[in-house]
């Protein structure tokens, strides 16, 4: 596909943004219910796009629109299904018969912790989050997680003070709070996970020797002269230095 064709495709895909939706071009429609009110929307939209199509304007519960920030938590149910499901509105396509509720935020409690004053010990999780001992392993949190994390498993790891496992299993958490909202034991999983990652990063994760050396060099002033010289240079000199470095990239990388 030529460059011109690609641009044409992109323009076509975004035409609804520029010109508004041409209803005659939409082949598939879906009925969704927003706060109990029915709306007919193009079936290929995400929940967030569909709500905007229906006339809602997000002044809250909408952040990155890319599945990273965790702001657009949605609870929904499908017609004929008893399960309450969870999703990120920006990442989930509408389905026929969706009953939608946007969750502005999860008002879960967050204890204050100070990792410098907390011992890297088995009992640290329980000291800040005694409610994790109430986990009955029902796994509801795991089923609620829109990131498909093994939430219950990291709470179980927290119970036995396994900081590494908590960090690894919770790494992709976007803190949407669905786990905490659904938990029958009132556990605040995502805060437990954040505490675990901070502690593991501070005490458990192996130090990077290269980074330590570079930080200590900077503190010793090894690069001070070079920095001082650099800020005195004019634009042309800086461009020349930059280009020289690019041309000798390998040398700089090898030199560490």
């Amino acid at each position: 596909m030529s460059k011109k064709d690609i641009m044409g495709e992109i323009a076509k895909a975004n035409s609804s943004v520029i010109k508004g939706v041409d209803k005659s071009e939409i082949k598939h429609w879906a009925n969704i219910y927003i706060m109990g009110q029915r709306y007919e929307v193009p079936a290929d939209l995400t929940i967030m796009q569909a709500m905007e199509y229906a006339g809602f304007r997000f002044i809250h519960s909408c952040g990155c629109r890319a599945g990273f920030c965790g702001a657009c938590s949605t609870i929904y149910r499908l017609k004929g299904d008893y399960r309450l499901k969870t999703a990120m509105a920006c990442q989930t396509r509408v389905e026929e018969g969706m009953f939608l509720v946007q969750l502005p935020f999860s008002p879960a409690v967050k204890p204050r912790w100070n990792i410098e004053k907390t011992g890297y010990e088995d009992g640290a999780f329980l000291a800040y989050f005694p409610e994790i001992a109430r986990c009955v392993s029902c796994n509801t949190c795991t089923k609620a997680c829109p990131q498909d994390l093994q939430v219950m498993d990291y709470i179980q790891a927290a119970l036995r003070g396994d900081f590494k496992k908590v960090s690894e299993l919770s790494f992709d958490c976007i803190q949407c709070g669905m786990c905490a909202v659904r938990c029958p034991a009132e556990i605040v999983h995502y805060h437990v996970a954040q505490f675990g990652r901070e502690m593991y990063g501070r005490y458990g994760y192996p130090r990077n020797a290269v980074l330590d050396k570079r930080v200590s060099d900077i503190k010793k002033g090894v690069y001070d002269k070079e920095f001082k010289d650099l800020v005195k240079k004019n634009k042309d000199e800086l461009v020349k230095i930059y280009k020289d470095q690019l041309a000798n990239k390998d040398k700089f990388i090898k030199g560490g």
């Binding site: 088995d122 986990c135 009955v136 392993s137 029902c138 796994n139 089923k143 179980q156 003070g161």
Partner: protein
Amino acid sequence: MKKIGYYPGCTLKTKAKIFEKTALYTAEKLGYEFIELPNWNCCGAVFSLSSDDLIHHLAPIRNLVRVQDMKEGAFLSEETLVTLCSMCFNTLKRANIRYKNSAEDRSKIKNIMDTESAYQGNVSVLHFLELFKSIEPGSVKLKRKLKGLKVFVYYGCTLLRPKEASLDDAEAPVILERYVETFGAEALSTPFSRLCCGSYQTVNAREKVVELAYKILTSAIESGADAVITACPLCFFNLKDIQNEICAAYPDFKGIPVAYFTELSAYALGMDPGEWDEEPGFIKTALAQTGEKKIKR
């Protein structure tokens, strides 16, 4: 080496690390590779004992589902789960029995677990001791001699009761005695070997536990034992860690070393005593009896 599913439980990862360390050492020396379940959850502790409380059975059953998954993925030689803590053993085994025997409970549990894989009911839950019950005493090559060391075996409750979950004859068990003899020491037992230590009452009625522990340990001392062994981290706490409280309540009480049964086997098989955070009392006695003065480190 035979690959076998291994369930440690919380206490072995926190308060009873030496129990796990010595057990893994023993198992390896005797030809077993223990594969710890990658994502195990709580065994269910003792909550699952109430009959209408099926939600607490999800924990043990899910652990068994994971053994099933591991066997399917060929990570294990058989659908067997071995555990060490007697509380975990009891909970896992009883939940397993209940799941197998009650169609109604089975269907309720499946319904609650919903989209998770269903447990087929084929996993056998074994206690560590059961793995070695058919080993002939002479067939194990021992590095250290424990000859003359008299060991009082303490079963407690959860290895033996209820009857259907017992790892041996619930009234007249011999499995711990045989284990002790396999590793070259002399086993002693009295009816107090099977008396409850007071268990969780240690939290809210410590004086009852002190009384029970006094009776059990006095029975051990009177039988002529040099040390007491147990398989339960809670019994271990009640019998060992509160001995100073027993001394305070019963001035005639002299005290006796308490160890996990795996400490005995790991020591006999040659584990470096430097591996212990605190050298168990039986080692000192064993050294005195064999005439060895110092352990080579």
